[in-house]
């Protein structure tokens, strides 16, 4: 029973990590940038979502506004920060991205307050779902379900629509894709938009679970995000998804069984090293 509980929480978080960090994978695939500032979009989505939910009383409205805010911010980060420094060595965009993250976190402090926001009428409070001896937090089901649905939509788009195929072609060979009429700039905006939207949804879900958004809530996914894209095989979507699940489950069991000695990010680091010893190019690249 205990192990089943750990597994459920691990899978729920794995799905959530996948959703929250997909933007990193998409952006890395296209631009080879480690988009650390992505973590701030998770926080932005959570803040805006909770704020609008509290003000309007509608979670759906909150979620939609959160997605819009994150999408606009994600595209602005590309346009104002990354676009002009793409030809620089990789550490330049990385440092710029870190700067954006710090700047936005301080912005959240000023705008939303140091103590953060809480959800006024949280529909998932004490909501649990019982089957026989099992009792699962409804929010876990929502987290896993939301992540699986949104990732399935993204995967369907990437594999079965010609725009999605063109997107993947751009990841593979951007210059040549352009020669076949693929607008590489639009593809980049689409990647930032899709990744940011997913991060916003993930942010709102975590805010509902904790009933709290803080200016630094995004730190949950910043370091882990890097581990996930490396584990997943740098820019590979399926790989990143598997890596997220592995990490979620490893964390859950790791904290459950050795929690007095290790913390969450340490487990991510250990999983990273162990996996790279087995698959030196990451899980996603192991096949080719």
């Amino acid at each position: 029973m205990y192990y089943v509980d750990l597994l459920i929480s691990g899978v729920a978080f794995g799905c959530l990590y996948a959703m929250a960090t997909m933007g990193l994978t998409l952006v890395y695939g296209l631009l080879r940038i480690l988009h650390i500032a992505h973590a701030a979009l998770f926080t932005l989505g959570a803040f805006v979502g909770v704020w609008v939910f509290n003000a309007s009383g509608s979670l759906i409205v909150g979620l939609i506004v959160a997605i819009l805010a994150a999408v606009v911010m994600g595209c602005l980060i590309y346009r104002l920060i990354y676009e002009s420094i793409l030809s620089q060595p990789p550490y330049v965009p990385l440092l710029a991205s870190l700067g954006v993250l710090i700047f936005l976190q301080d912005g959240f402090r000023i705008v939303f307050g140091e103590e953060g926001l809480t959800v006024r009428h949280n529909p998932f409070y004490m909501a649990n779902f019982t089957i026989g001896a099992f009792s699962i937090n409804v929010i876990y089901i929502v987290m896993a379900g939301g992540a699986l649905i949104s990732m399935a939509v993204l995967a369907f788009f990437a594999n079965y629509s010609r725009h999605g195929i063109a997107w993947r072609a751009t990841v593979s060979r951007p210059l040549l894709a352009a020669n076949f009429g693929v607008n590489v700039i639009q593809v980049r905006y689409a990647a930032f938009a899709a990744g940011s939207a997913l991060a916003a949804i993930a942010g709102v879900l975590v805010a509902l679970m904790n009933n709290l958004v803080e200016p630094h809530s995004g730190e949950l996914i910043s370091y882990k995000g890097l581990a996930i894209i490396v584990l997943g095989g740098l820019g590979n979507m399926q790989g990143a998804f598997i890596a997220s699940l592995v990490l979620g489950i490893a964390e859950s069991f790791g904290i459950g069984l050795a929690g007095r000695y290790v913390d969450r990010d340490a487990i991510a680091a250990v999983a990273l090293i162990a996996t790279l010893m087995i698959f030196p190019n990451g899980i996603g690249r192991a096949r080719t």
Partner: protein, 376 residues
């Protein structure tokens, strides 16, 4: 970046006030930015309110009191820098630490070496006062809280199987140590033991463990920003075991945990039923400055000023050694946090320990706890 700027401003304003030599200067450091900034703000505003009251009533020894505020960011290295600055300025006659155990421990020996009276208002690590005879405590030791909780669980709640969940820092480990030291004699046993890092907000694995443990009581030791999510996640998982806690006496805890907070017992807090006649006015002043997020922190910050002012008056002098001696002989002093009976020879407070319970979204007084003291 912001932190730097705030710190610089604090430094500059601190330098500015030193130019008024006629005033009595009290130094203070607190985490004004960083992970504990909400607590730092609660402490700073409460301290300012307390000093404002003193000045409005004519000051101390006929002089106005000036407060120098420094931002330690909740970090030891910052606290060391600040302590060195205060000591080399040589203007403050007493310093208050409204901060966590790490920064307070780091700064204490510097003040001791300079023979500058130092009150650790909040930090509860046992080693802080062991640094020397100039270092005093303002609130209960973590070990005393933890040990008294074990006694309370056995004698008042009449339960024995306990799961304990504590924050992985000095405060959490002193709670745990006190609890473990006391539990044997009380027939209390631990069926589960968990810790979490300062940044942790996701408690899926801990909750899974708590469900397995099936304890009579869950004891949580940490801060509101962890306790809020933890308590809601425990209740959301359908676990209805009674919860007793240390460190969660912040309004923000109730705001986060909402209905899940109902019935949670809080060790060493009078909460909203504080019997001090000045308490309602104090709360109103905090509310006016939107500083009610962590009222417990505010109460003990105010208390440190109460203790300091009382000692300076009795010393009748700004001489630091006389103030130290006056601190050590504090007797039956009514503070915002209770009545300080006296100091032990180790400069720990002797004070009764109230218990409160969350009821209808408020902290309600729920009697007193028997005090457990560690073997000397």
């Amino acid at each position: 970046m912001m932190r730097r700027i705030v710190f610089l401003t604090a430094m500059l304003s601190a330098c500015a006030v030193t130019s008024a030599p006629a005033d009595i200067i009290i130094g203070m450091h607190a985490p004004l930015t960083g992970f504990a900034a909400v607590d730092g703000k609660s402490a700073r505003i409460a301290t300012e309110i307390a000093i404002g009251k003193i000045n409005a009533a004519g000051g101390l020894l006929g002089q106005k009191v000036q407060l120098q505020v420094f931002d330690d960011q909740g970090q030891g290295a910052q606290a060391v820098t600040i302590a060195n600055k205060i000591v080399s300025d040589n203007a403050a006659i007493l310093v208050i630490a409204d901060s966590y155990s790490e920064p307070t421990r780091a700064a204490a020996s510097i003040f001791q070496a300079a023979k500058m009276p130092y009150i650790s208002a909040v930090a509860s690590h046992p080693d802080i006062t062991k640094v020397g005879n100039y270092v005093f405590r303002g609130s209960q030791l973590g070990e005393v809280q933890g040990g008294s909780t074990a006694v309370h669980i056995a004698k008042a709640l009449k339960k024995s199987k306990v799961s304990i969940v504590t924050v992985d820092n000095d405060y959490g480990s002193s709670l745990l140590n006190g609890f473990k030291a006391a539990m044997g004699a009380q027939g209390v046993t631990l069926v589960g033991e968990y810790s979490f890092t300062m940044a942790e907000r996701q408690f899926g694995s801990v909750v899974a463990g708590l469900r397995r443990d099936n304890a009579d009581v869950i004891y949580i030791g940490g801060y509101w920003f962890q306790g809020g999510p933890l308590v809601s996640q425990i209740r959301a998982a359908g676990i209805t075991t009674p919860i007793i806690s240390s460190g969660l006496a912040a309004q923000q805890f109730i705001k986060i945990a909402g209905p899940a907070a109902e019935g949670v017992m809080i060790v060493d807090a009078t909460g909203d039923d504080n019997a001090n006649p000045e308490y309602p006015a104090f709360r109103a002043a905090l509310r006016a400055q939107e500083a009610e997020a962590n009222v417990f922190f505010s109460e003990i910050a105010h208390t440190a000023v109460d203790i300091a002012a009382n000692a300076i008056r009795r010393a009748g002098s700004t001489d630091r050694e006389k103030i130290r001696d006056a601190l050590a002989s504090t007797k039956d002093l009514r503070t915002m946090y209770g009545t300080l009976a006296s100091y032990t020879s180790g400069r720990e407070i002797i004070q009764r320990m109230p218990l409160s319970i969350v009821k209808d979204g408020k902290f309600a007084a729920s009697g007193e706890m028997e005090i457990w003291l560690p073997a000397p």
